[in-house]
């Protein structure tokens, strides 16, 4: 049954269904219980599933992820909530040194089916540490899978796929899109959905390829709509999975359009865009009409809220990059 839901509510439904379908799934984090999380993503879940399934934890991120490791060894499937992107770093050691490596260390004997949910990105007028895009740190780490959703329908299916997966998954949620609405097929069979690590062509076009993920997919789609008025037909790829990346979908698009522009909020230096540009250059060299361009955050700490609109890639900066690509 299709319902119109916000992205946040779609995540809530996905989590609820995961809790219903597997009693080994537990949610743990700060304020996820009675409060339902600071963004209300876990709203009502503790009431319906109890304090052993939806666990309000002490205020310690390493503790959240570290105890999730132990629960996973015990056979549970913990879903950790890190309250904000900038608060993940106390858990960084556990994620990178333990979660990412235990399957390898144990020669496949110990699986850690842990999902670490992190609201990320800016645009909400917040104070420091509440608007960051730390995805490259995790995408750089072998042993982790990293995904992000851009719309309510994906939010609903991808969170369930991540929980079902035996891989440890860092699940980034585009917090400024939590309130955007879309159609969601509640209860749909997941086997009919796109695989978790597949990219999706979010809009078809023949003239240039915009590659975006998470909160920037909306921006890229808006840019494509605007460009169409000028007669330029931009293809938009929603990356969805940041590690591994579904390169074949990207290569097919770029071979068709000859132009690629990567858009992300994170600083450009050593970011996802750099890797994508390198790969596209290696694999699509003879198809390219222009160098791969990037539209990203600047290489500064996330700035104060009153200037963040100038920091974040927006429709105009994306269109400016499109112009530069065509001007090559």
């Amino acid at each position: 049954m299709a319902e119109t839901l916000t992205l946040g509510k779609a995540l809530n439904h996905g989590l609820r269904r995961s809790l219903e379908e597997n009693d080994k799934v537990v949610i743990m984090g700060e304020d996820v219980g009675k409060l339902g999380g600071v963004f209300r993503i876990t709203d009502g879940l503790q009431k319906d599933f109890g304090e052993d399934r939806v666990i309000d934890t002490p205020l310690a991120e390493a503790g959240i992820v570290g105890t999730a490791v132990g629960l996973a060894i015990r056979g549970y499937r913990p879903v950790c909530e890190i309250q904000f992107d900038g608060f993940v770093f106390p858990a960084y050691n556990q994620i990178v040194a333990q979660v990412a490596k235990m399957f390898y260390r144990s020669k496949g004997n110990v699986r850690l089916p842990i999902v670490i949910r992190i609201p990320f990105g800016g645009g909400i007028g917040a104070v420091e540490h509440h608007s960051e895009s730390p995805e490259a740190y995790f995408a750089h780490t072998p042993g982790l899978k990293v995904v992000t959703c851009s719309n309510p329908s994906d939010a609903y299916t991808m969170i369930q796929q991540a929980i079902t997966s035996d891989d440890p998954v860092v699940f980034f949620e585009p917090k400024r899109r939590y309130w955007e609405k879309g159609e969601v097929e509640l209860g749909a069979d997941l086997s009919g959905a796109d695989p978790l690590h597949a990219a999706r062509v979010a809009r078809e076009g023949a003239d240039a390829t915009l590659i975006a993920y998470g909160p920037m997919v909306r921006t890229a789609l808006d840019a494509a709509t605007a460009a169409a008025e000028d007669g330029r037909h931009l293809e938009v790829i929603d990356l969805r999975s940041l590690s591994p990346v579904d390169y074949e979908t990207i290569y097919a698009s770029v071979r068709k359009t000859g132009r690629a522009i990567v858009v992300h909020e994170a600083p450009g230096n050593i970011g996802l865009g750099a890797e994508l540009a390198a790969r596209i250059s290696e694999q699509c060299f003879y198809s390219l009409e222009a160098p791969v361009l990037r539209v990203t955050g600047y290489d500064i700490p996330y700035p104060a809220a009153r200037v963040e609109e100038e920091y974040l890639p927006d429709l105009d900066r994306v269109l400016d990059a499109v112009d530069r690509s065509f001007g090559w």
């Binding site: 132990g70 144990s106 110990v110 042993g143």
Partner: protein, 379 residues
């Protein structure tokens, strides 16, 4: 004797510790701590002899490993020399259903779990990163980042509670091993908080061997480590870590409290690392010979041997037989370590992800193709 009221043993640190066997091999019948808990052991003659057997065996295996490292057959070795009693006593206190989370030095605990002692040698030889099944052996993988495993143990213990496996005498308990240095780690303190808040069925077993590589205990703490527990709301007990009987008695009691639903305990096993931190370390740079000598007088094995002799529970024949059996095991271990094959290089791509990764598959294929390109050449 624990909790700050003991005058037991001239060798006890200020504040005392639980000791049931003195360095001279005198048995102390029982010890009652300030909180009214009485600790004792009720071993048969055969069990005393078997404890001695384990202590000697793990020391002999450790010596073999040190030799293998010196001969270039292991990349590194973390010796347990001096800590045999803490490990064998606490390890034998575990019941079969219990789960242990070791550091990288718990070879003695591993042995008491009935695990083939060769299991961790792949890690130290450099042919793998450990590679065993934690649940099969009820013994988690060796954890090298200091203190991280205490959180894993706590989470596992929370799972035990969620599974309804506490609150009965046949319930499950979890033990986390760590050292004095680890007590400074935030993660260890978080584990204390969590274990307390969730009343986790676990024992924090700290082997205070006086040094974190070169740094003495004074660089980690202003108060005795066992007293930290009070601030987290659960009992802390200090034991003579070189007394296998105290190690067994206090750990067994703490584990049983945990399995019965009474929550965590911190045990500080006051001991001494007789060897180097690892084979890469040079302890003569930071500690004096007389200190090491004074701890030799507290040796965990010689005190049990003295007890067995005085009580006429064992004689030379037994001691010789134990030495012989340990030697045989050590030589067998040596043979099997030397026979460990190097892994196939391409196997480095195995087990990065349970569900694999197309990128990794492509890299593996490139790797194979690249190496195949040298076949038949002089390269």
């Amino acid at each position: 004797m624990a909790n700050g009221v003991s005058d037991v043993g001239a060798d006890a640190p200020a504040g005392g510790f639980v000791q049931l066997l003195t360095p001279d091999g005198e048995r102390i019948d029982s010890v009652t701590t300030a909180d009214g808990t009485t600790y004792s052991v009720d071993f048969t003659d055969e069990e005393y002899r078997s404890l001695y057997h384990d202590l000697v065996t793990v020391r002999r295996l450790d010596a073999e490993a040190t030799a293998l490292q010196r001969q270039g057959e292991l990349g590194i070795w973390a010796s347990l020399l001096g800590q045999e009693a803490a490990q064998v006593g606490s390890g034998r206190a575990l019941r079969p259903q219990d789960m242990a989370f070791p550091t990288y030095r718990e070879h003695g605990v591993l042995y008491t779990r009935g695990i083939d002692p060769i299991m961790p040698f792949g890690l130290f030889r450099g042919v793998d990163q450990g590679g065993w099944d934690a649940n099969e052996h009820r013994f988690n993988g060796y954890t090298i980042v200091i203190g991280s495993q205490t959180l894993h143990a706590t989470g596992y213990a929370m799972g035990v509670t969620m599974d309804g496996k506490t609150g009965t005498p046949d319930g499950e308990a979890v033990i986390a091993y760590f050292g004095d240095g680890a007590t400074s780690q935030g993660e260890v303190n978080e584990a204390f908080v969590w274990a307390g808040v969730f009343n986790a069925p676990m024992v924090f077993f700290c082997q205070n061997n006086q040094y974190a590589i070169s740094e003495p205990l004074e660089r980690q703490t202003r108060i005795p480590l066992y007293r930290r527990a009070a601030g987290f709301g659960f009992p802390g007990v200090r034991i003579d870590g070189n007394d296998v009987l105290a190690s067994y008695a206090v750990t067994r009691a703490a584990l049983d409290n945990a399995r019965n639903g009474q929550g965590p305990t911190l045990i500080e096993a006051y001991t001494y690392r007789m060897g180097a931190h690892t084979s890469s370390d040079d302890p003569t740079r930071y500690r004096i010979a007389s200190e090491v000598e004074s701890w030799k007088a507290k040796d965990p094995i010689s005190r049990l041997r003295a007890f067995l002799t005085k009580q006429q529970l064992a004689g030379d024949d037994f001691f010789t037989a134990v030495d012989e059996s340990a030697k045989k095991l050590a030589l067998d271990l040596r043979e099997r370590v030397l026979a460990m094959p190097d892994p196939q290089p391409v196997s480095m791509f195995d087990h990065a992800y349970p569900h694999g990764s197309p990128e990794l598959d492509a890299q593996r294929a490139e790797f194979v193709e690249y190496h195949a390109s040298f076949e038949g050449s002089d390269h």
